[in-house]
Amino acid sequence: MNKPLTERIDAAEGSGGRVSLDAYERADGYSAARAAITSMTPEEVQGVVKDANLRGRGGAGFPTGVKWSFVPMGDAAGPGHKYLVCNADEMEPGTFKDRYLMENDPHLLIEGMLIGAYAIQADRGYIFIRGEYHDAARRLEQAIAEARAKGYVGDQVFGSSFSVELAVHRSGGRYICGEETALLNALEGKRAEPRTKPPFPPVSGAWGRPTIVNNVETLCNVPAILRNGAAWYHALGVGEDAGTKVFGVSGRVRNPGLWELPMGTPIRELLEVHAGGMQDGFELRGILPGGASTDFLTAEHLDLPMDYGPIQAAGSRLGTGTMIVIDDSVCIVDLSRNLQHFFAQESCGFCTPCREGLPWIEQLLADIEEGRGQPGDLELLEKNAEFIGAPGNTFCLHATGAMEPMNSALKYFRAEFEAHIEQGGCPLRHGKAG
């Protein structure tokens, strides 16, 4: 087994890639959760995931086992519930991996949650899913009901003394819900405004109780890690990071899509082998390697491995690992306006630099694109991007993320911004893009 996330989906090709409970169990499904819950201590489970060096697949890349170890155990947790929350609020532009996993193999996520909940001794689990993922939410609700009927969810799971309830929470929208403390406020029925940190959720999260928030793909890795061990998981990666990843490519490539591949797969292999290269008549100008809030990389970076460290060393982030390809028909100034429109609109509005600054950046980009740019605008843009993006000026990293593609666009494509100002508008407007 070298594809712990999608092997069953591939095998279920005849039924459209949808893995039933029967098919899931025939392929060793729920055996890892059963073994962990009935024969291991929570600390042992945490230890295996820590040793495997599983890192968060939602974008931040924090080691999952380490995060779990921050949860107070036993009497130290005080009276009341502990929570495991799955972040299924997939809204990072360009990202489409979690929907694929949830729609096609919902029991894999349920099993990952069971193991995660046991490891931190949580008695409540929620799957916080974006409101537009109707099909995935229905599949998960059905999967939870099937698992409950078998005694895998609810009281005394697998006949053990461990009990956990699982439920799906359908969100009311807004990108900011992906920020884990905003997500917890939304789960509590409030406006999704990020909380100040500390305290961090493992100590004080949902309803003030210890809470772990993990991404869908992160939790989906857990069953195979428990079944096959940390060493096996390490060996799956071809670079410095462990395991596999559902990588994706969108944009003007011949074969856009998703593929589960070893961590450390080079960008070039993703683009040229799996995505089939650029469509005829288009050339690659840049990529956003892991969603809209990651810095641009360019053709000079194509031999980098998709691992957390090397992508960060190149000035960007692995993010969600689903890359957006920017071709030569795209105006970088107008693309930047599109990105900043997104971030300005999706600011929760609580902190001033984000609420006021992002629309201001969007307007400046619109001015440059539409021929109202002035000499000095780029310096102004840089100065404000620096202020808006500086961590610590805001409760969360929304504005910081927004400035990643902004600063890197100015770094790699500055001449195009300058040409807009010098020529009084967009040189590409009547060009290739039409």
């Binding site: 537009e132 009311g172 929208g173 999704a192 969108s250 957006i324 599109n338």
Partner: protein, 165 residues
């Protein structure tokens, strides 16, 4: 919104709506935590959240209508104005932008005769912009009601729209 709560309007939730909201409350530590779920439950049945619905839900959850409205207006999938028979959401995020969003938007505005946030005069469609719908390999993408429709082209729009009366 009126400060005076109309008692008749408070009883406006149906038995099915009340039961569905109570089922949500059952797995939460307090009633107010069900606010977003309750708004979604009522909207699923009525299409949108009127002032009357808002008051009725607030009463059921034991919170003020003003507090509930500040939540309802925060979330883009909760509608505080009536919508058409079908809600059409066009993705305007980066992958769809790269793959021809502008042309789809132009064609939609021409065919429907409305802009973002508006409803056609016959009440058939409400057109809303939306962020990434998570189907970037099939960009450009739009969603009508619960149907995700990918690889949309301006010339194919008539055929897509015709499926929704």
């Amino acid at each position: 919104m009126s400060e005076v709560v109309n008692v008749q309007l408070i009883s406006a939730l149906s038995k099915a709506e009340t039961a569905a909201i109570e089922a949500e409350i059952a797995h939460l530590p307090n009633r107010e935590s069900a606010a977003i779920s309750a708004l979604r439950i009522v909207q699923e049945r009525r299409g949108w959240i009127s002032d009357e619905s808002l008051h009725a839900i607030a009463h059921l959850l034991g919170m003020s209508a003003h507090a509930l409205d500040s939540i309802a207006t925060f979330y883009n999938l909760i509608y505080r104005r009536p919508v058409g028979r079908h809600v059409l959401m066009l993705c305007d995020s980066v992958s769809c932008y790269v793959m021809g969003y502008a042309g789809i938007r132009e064609a939609l505005i021409e065919k429907l005769g409305i802009h973002e946030g508006e409803t056609t005069a016959d009440g058939r469609f409400t057109y809303l912009p939306n962020v990434c719908l998570g189907a970037c390999d099939r960009a450009p993408v739009l969603m009508i009601d619960e149907d995700l429709i990918g690889n949309v082209a301006p010339e194919g729009l008539d055929e897509v729209l015709a499926r929704y009366e």
